[in-house]
């Protein structure tokens, strides 16, 4: 579906006409990301991150396929095969560092994309399905990134696999058998490495499939925008191409500049020194820490230190960690306010920024050893995280009085550009 004023696809060249009759891919592209897709005219730079996430996935898939040509998923040789890529394969160091830092860049843009959605209410009707599919993509990304980190078979790979699969052993009765089933043994070993490699290669294509659904679901109501007001008529929109292709091109340039700086100038900044030590099941690293993009959830896991009711602390932590992501599936119904954009939500806006600070705090706590004051900070941070989504948000959306809103996107845009009466010189 699209808006009635969407420009129809009219192929001129005989070849394109022939193609349109046989397999209308040009028509699909034209209507999805070309002049045939009207988009709100007022999108700000935060709307770049969806395209950037797509670009990051493509970079990961391309570099990953090349790495797989040289990597060997066997515990005896995996570590050295990565070093072979770094030393002997032509430009292998570049491909490997790009893939390693590409994962971080992917998570950076996806986190910004998620928080953009939270701020501007992009998860609300009529875009609930877009949000739900987005959470599915996020979960798949986490699984993929975790398994990818295991592949170099360094110390952190091994012990990360040990700790993360250990979560399942917290489940009563079936936990330990489930863990052994996932690992293919009692500890991470060759069976684990092989299946993780297989799944690490598979899941990105599953992500690609869900992204297609994500975009499909988005194209039915069309993009949200910073006012949160739905498109009313043609002057509220511009065609995606050339307006947003140009803007996304600029955004892509900035993204790549940051990516390049990280990859070429400080490629190990976000990694752990321990992962340059080959995996050793007899030597536990002093601090087992996940990659930075998992740290807030790791902090939530570690925050539960008390056996409450009949559930022990470890199981509480595991349940809470999964719940902290799973609750995002319910967000469209937890927030009952009809107002989307935080621009017009004076109360929610404050809590949004507290949530941002809270997630950053949890990230720091996740990185720190289990010592005070980090334990109590992660406990307080986790309290706010759950309170924000499950207690505060439903109440705020009920009691909040929204600010006056413009009638349309165009009205909001024109008001922004109208000369401010106070600042106009008297002579003008």
């Amino acid at each position: 579906m699209s808006f009635p004023w969407a420009k129809p696809y009219e192929p001129q060249h005989p070849l394109m006409k022939w193609m349109d009759e046989k397999l209308p891919i040009p028509r699909l592209v034209y209507n999805a990301t070309g002049p045939g897709y009207p988009v709100p005219r007022n999108l700000n730079y935060f709307w770049n991150f969806g395209v950037l996430a797509g670009a990051a996935l493509m970079i990961q898939i391309i570099t990953g396929i090349i790495l797989a040509m040289h990597y060997a998923a066997n515990v005896g040789v995996a570590f050295n095969s990565v070093e072979h890529i770094m030393r002997d394969v032509n430009a292998g160091w570049f491909i490997r560092y790009a893939h390693m830092n590409g994962a971080s860049m992917f998570f950076i843009v996806v986190y910004l994309h998620i928080f953009r959605g939270l701020y501007y209410g992009s998860y609300k009707a009529p875009r609930e399905m877009v949000w739900l599919l987005g959470v599915v993509i996020f979960l798949l990304m986490m699984a993929t990134a975790f398994m990818g980190y295991v592949l170099p078979w360094g110390q952190m790979s091994f012990w990360g696999a040990q700790v993360i699969t250990g979560f399942f052993s917290a489940i009563p009765i079936v936990g330990e058998p489930v863990r052994q089933w996932l690992l293919g043994g009692f500890v991470p070993d060759n069976a684990t490495l092989n299946r993780f490699f297989s799944l690490h290669y598979l899941l990105p294509f599953v992500i690609l499939g869900v992204i297609i659904l994500h975009i499909w679901a988005l194209h039915i109501p069309g993009s949200n925008n910073p006012t949160g007001i739905e498109v009313k008529d043609e002057q509220d929109t511009v065609p995606f191409h050339p307006y947003y292709t140009a803007k996304d091109g600029f955004g892509l340039g900035i993204f790549l500049l940051v990516f390049v700086a990280l990859t070429f100038f400080s490629p190990n900044m976000l990694g752990h020194a321990d992962n340059y030590i080959p995996a050793n099941s007899l030597s536990t690293p002093a601090h087992i820490v996940p990659e930075w993009y998992f740290l807030p959830f790791y902090a939530i896991l570690k925050a539960f230190t008390f056996n409450f009711l009949w559930i022990d602390a470890k199981l509480w932590g595991v349940i809470a960690m999964f719940a902290s992501i799973a609750l995002l599936f319910f967000l469209p119904w937890l927030d009952s306010s009809p107002i989307k954009s935080s621009t017009y939500r004076p109360l929610y806006r404050w809590f949004f920024w507290v949530l941002v600070a809270d997630v950053l705090l949890l990230g720091v706590c996740g990185m720190m050893p289990a010592e005070q004051p980090w334990v109590i900070l992660s406990q307080l941070g986790s309290i706010y995280y759950f309170a924000h989504f499950l207690v505060i948000l439903p109440i705020v959306s009920r009691i909040e009085r929204p600010l006056p809103m413009p009638n349309s996107i165009t009205e909001a845009v024109l008001a922004k550009h109208a000369p401010d009466a106070a600042s106009v010189p008297a002579a003008a």
Binding site: G253, L327, F386
Partner: protein, 269 residues
């Protein structure tokens, strides 16, 4: 329905966390060792920063220190003799250098285990046949492979340099339980304070061909510089390529910005 249920779930988590707060002691158990561990000292090398180069004379000296001192116990598995052309040696010099090593082989006539002269394509041979032999000879501690050591330790090259120069007598106020046991040596840069490796470098231990005075500090700097190279032989090339890519993308980004402004010029947004 979602909201009341969510509210109850939220209360459950919050209660568990509040109870956790009240049952977790606010004081950390004191760790005396912490106060004796020192932060590594910074080592400035030519390969640092955004315009790095290899100081080949230093790398050659560093390799000499590795060969004459470290290689008695530490392997360098990931480095091949052919790689040391990066250090400024000619192909002929590499072949001669490789020939000076005996590498494991099999007798081509009998199939028995044997050794032969090293070739440029061989890697540096390891000092011990296996981990058991390494343990047996080193007070039950396996000397780690040094190929990646500057990337495989917190603090990187600074840590390696500090460790090599950091051997000293334990301070008088060191608690008895932290004093080095038999076969252990005190070094405040080592996270556990005491390590199995004895002080490896002493003044004048090697004789540099270029006449550089072989002080402990100089040898430590040189061998650390060498180990930065072994950990990432493509480091300098990486940064150089990085600048080319960066400027290329900068031009792309400027053009993309201008075309964005141009296309949007007539559209208020």
């Amino acid at each position: 329905m979602v909201r009341p249920l969510g509210f109850l779930v939220g209360l459950g988590f919050i209660t568990a966390l509040v109870l956790a707060i009240f049952t977790t002691p606010l004081k950390n158990e004191p760790n005396v060792a912490y106060s004796f561990v020192k932060e590594p000292r910074h080592l400035k090398l030519a390969s640092d920063g955004l315009v790095p180069h290899w100081d080949k004379a230093q790398l050659q000296r560093g390799m000499q220190v590795y060969k004459e001192v470290c290689s008695a116990c530490h392997s360098l598995n990931l480095v091949a003799f052919r790689n040391i052309q990066d250090l400024g040696y000619t192909e002929g010099q590499v072949k001669t250098f490789a020939k000076g090593f005996q590498v494991p082989s099999v007798n081509p006539d009998t199939g028995e285990v044997a050794t032969r002269d090293g070739l440029a394509s061989d890697h540096f041979p390891a000092p011990y046949a296996n981990d058991v032999a390494a343990r047996a000879a080193n007070n039950n501690a396996i000397p780690p492979d040094l190929s990646l050591i500057t990337k495989a330790r917190e603090g990187g090259k600074d840590y390696i340099y500090s460790l090599l120069t950091g051997y000293q007598n334990p301070p008088a106020n060191l608690p008895a339980e932290l004093k080095p046991g038999t076969g252990l040596h005190y070094n405040p840069y080592f996270p556990n304070l005491n390590l199995a490796m004895a002080k490896p470098l002493n003044d004048g231990q090697v004789t540099y061909a270029d006449g550089t005075k072989a002080s402990v500090d100089q040898m430590a700097k040189d061998v650390t510089a060498f180990l930065v190279w072994t950990a990432e032989p493509k480091l300098v090339k990486r940064v150089q390529v990085g600048w080319a890519v960066f400027f290329f993308l900068l031009i792309f980004t400027v053009l993309a910005y201008l075309s964005y402004r141009n296309i949007w010029a007539d559209k208020k947004h």
